[in-house]
């Protein structure tokens, strides 16, 4: 065992494309709205998870990306689920659905706050959704950065693995705000996997361009 960790697989969903491990797997229709595109990815892969339809856009994006990431790299079968960490970040927290909740309470004459909306007004709910789907119980943290912080992410997750606090990790960045969306989720392991890239800031930025 050494202190070298690897990006063993990744999934990027952005600009109407799904990229899994450097292969474009799916392309959306020209001019498709973010929510519609994410739904067409969900349908294309027949993900069949009824809870998907209850989720807000941010969680739907994170969910679809995590499914495509873990479809071929089944870390939940190779590690104890208590030893898998989830460390994800974004820039807008849950501001997209926050705005929606605010609209339900701003007008006193038309006041209808909904628990089904309010529950999504925390960004770490998307970690919860991935954890529930895959029964992952390890360390979990949601960070907020102005943009994906490859340096901190690599360093913190490497220290989680090297100190034995986790055996593997689902990591990355999931943004969904005002028509912009970008999911970059990847797995970190002690073994190289199909990507064979060391888990360093440089390698992350090679992949996440």
């Amino acid at each position: 065992m050494s202190d070298v960790n690897y990006i063993s697989a990744f999934c990027r969903i952005s600009s109407g494309k799904v990229n899994v491990n450097h292969s474009i797997m799916f392309t959306g229709e020209e001019g498709e709205a973010p929510a519609a595109f994410i739904k067409s990815v969900y349908k294309h892969y027949q993900l069949n998870y009824p809870k998907f339809y209850k989720m807000d856009g941010l969680c739907q994006l994170a969910f679809v990306a995590s499914e495509l990431l873990l479809k071929d790299n089944k870390i939940t079968e190779r590690y104890n689920k208590e030893e898998i960490a989830i460390v994800i970040s974004n820039g807008s927290a849950s501001l997209e659905i926050d705005t929606e909740h605010q609209q339900t309470i701003s007008d006193k004459a038309n006041y209808f706050p909904s628990p089904a909306v309010f529950v999504y007004t925390l960004p770490n709910i998307l970690i919860g959704e991935i954890a529930i789907r895959n029964l992952i119980k390890g360390e979990n943290t949601f960070f907020i950065f102005d943009k994906f912080d490859a340096q901190f992410t690599a360093q913190y997750i490497n220290s989680l693995l090297n100190s034995g606090r986790a055996e593997s990790c689902i990591a990355g960045w999931v943004e969904f705000y005002e028509g912009n969306y970008d999911a970059f989720l990847y797995t970190v392991e002690k073994t190289p996997g199909v990507i064979r890239a060391e888990h360093t800031a440089e390698q992350l930025l090679n992949i996440y361009k």
Binding site: P113, P115, D146
Partner: protein
């Protein structure tokens, strides 16, 4: 032995480990395959064929609480000792159309205190709280160099400046202020700290998680001082959301009590400053000995029925602190006073064999202060250790959980050598952290 050498290299990176003889390690019958895990729990060195345990400690060198009960740790603790609550019934407020029980910081006092700082530009309510809270810790301990590149600021908040979304506040501040990373920029710029603040937003465990992160980042040796500050404010946004869940009690909440019927919300800000340099400690030395987070993987808005997620976080925390359940002196629980949370906690505490340890919840004093909760409640735990005083749980009368946990009713004096702080939140997240007093 080649693998062994690579491990030695890794240990050196931690700074505190000097493995001088790998063969001896093997002969000591420690399974090599587990050594990196082992090293995390018990950092060690081998000298003269003896195994010596080493630790890279994180000490608390200053702390502050701002709540309706006061603007310093001492002021707050004095109120809690007298079992006075900051939660009030507000007949009319901007928070809710109906009367609501909540812990709200007096706007005039906040204004007066903030004016004393003579800040040059306008700050939001939450930013003012962060700045006041951090400023107080800097005054307490001149050894804290906030402008040093070796000092990092960690902020914990669930909703940040969410009040700026309210139409009443439109145009008062740039829209950028809604983003938590910008809150980080505003605070670091105010104090002249050269590093980008690290922002944790992980529901109600954010504060505990931020302290755990502080400890872990000190272990990495990139920083020597970490300022951990957590805050959230009371807004119509948050109150209406919890009301829509029918989760808010019509009275001051009753943690763990048979008659509990929901939460009270509150606003607060708290700061703890951590360092790995013990010489900077003033007074009683208190260290962060271990911490962990976990997920129930069960439900996004309801806790696990069995408490297995929280149990995992507690067990890992004790393991990292090299302690067993019988050594825990005091538990500062999450105790939101919802039916399910308090029951889940009681299950986890009992399964961890901690049911006899004195335990309280501070939610009936401060309300649920979201991103501040883990930090201000930890600070009260720390103050309990310094003063050997355990705070009684306000509004607790009759046991109301199915497992017999040891809830503290009245404030009592007794030796408190350590404190286990627990937290749980939406998204199924759990966290625990252990503080210990050094002789």
């Amino acid at each position: 032995m080649r693998d062994g050498r690579r491990k030695i290299t890794y240990y050196r990176k931690y700074g505190s480990l000097i493995v001088t003889n790998f063969t001896n390690l093997y002969l000591l019958n420690i399974p090599i395959t587990n050594t990196h895990k082992f090293a995390n729990s018990y950092k060690f060195a081998i000298c003269n064929k003896q195994l010596i345990f080493l630790t890279q400690e994180s000490y608390i060198i200053a702390d502050n609480i701002i709540s309706p009960l006061g603007f310093s740790t001492e002021e707050n603790f004095a109120q809690l000792k007298q079992m006075r609550t900051g939660v009030q019934r507000l007949e009319k407020s901007a928070l809710s159309a109906e009367p609501v029980c909540a812990a709200v910081i007096d706007a005039r006092r906040l204004d007066d205190e903030f004016k004393k700082l003579e800040a040059s530009k306008p700050f939001t309510r939450l930013e003012q709280l962060f700045i006041l809270s951090i400023s107080d810790t800097l005054k307490q301990n001149p050894a804290i160099d906030i402008r040093s590149p070796k000092t990092l600021l960690i902020l914990s908040s669930t909703k940040g400046n969410i009040d700026l979304l309210d139409p009443e506040n439109t145009g008062k501040f740039d829209k950028k202020r809604l983003f938590l990373w910008e809150t980080g920029n505003v605070i670091t710029e105010h104090f002249g700290n050269p590093n980008k603040a690290l922002i944790v937003s992980n529901a109600c465990i954010s504060g505990v998680l931020a302290i755990i992160l502080g400890k872990r980042l000190l272990e990495e040796n990139n920083y020597d001082t970490i300022v951990v500050s957590g805050g959230d404010i009371m807004t119509h946004f948050v109150v209406s959301g919890f009301q829509s869940f029918k989760a808010v009690s019509s009275e001051v909440c009753k943690p763990y009590d048979a008659a509990r019927d929901g939460i009270s919300l509150g606003e607060a800000c708290g700061t703890v400053v951590l360092t790995n340099d013990k010489t900077k400690v003033k007074g009683t030395a208190i260290a962060v000995k271990g911490g962990s987070s976990s997920n129930d993987a069960n439900h996004i808005s309801g806790p696990s029925r069995t408490g297995d997620g929280l149990l995992l976080a507690i067990e890992r925390t004790l393991k990292e602190a090299n302690m067993n359940a019988s050594q825990v002196a005091y538990i500062s629980g999450h105790g939101t006073a919802t039916l399910y949370n308090d029951e889940m906690e009681a299950q986890a505490i009992t399964t961890a064999n901690l049911q006899d340890v004195p335990m309280n919840s501070l939610k009936s004093y401060f309300g649920h202060t979201l991103g501040a909760a883990g930090i201000i409640e930890s600070i009260i735990g720390i103050q309990s250790m310094r003063s050997n005083t355990l705070i009684g749980t306000y509004n607790y009368n009759e046991p109301g959980v199915t497992k017999p946990v040891n809830i503290i009713k009245q404030t009592t004096e007794r030796t408190v050598n350590n404190c286990l702080k627990t937290a749980a939140g939406f998204g199924g997240c759990n966290a625990a952290v252990l503080f210990s007093k050094e002789a």
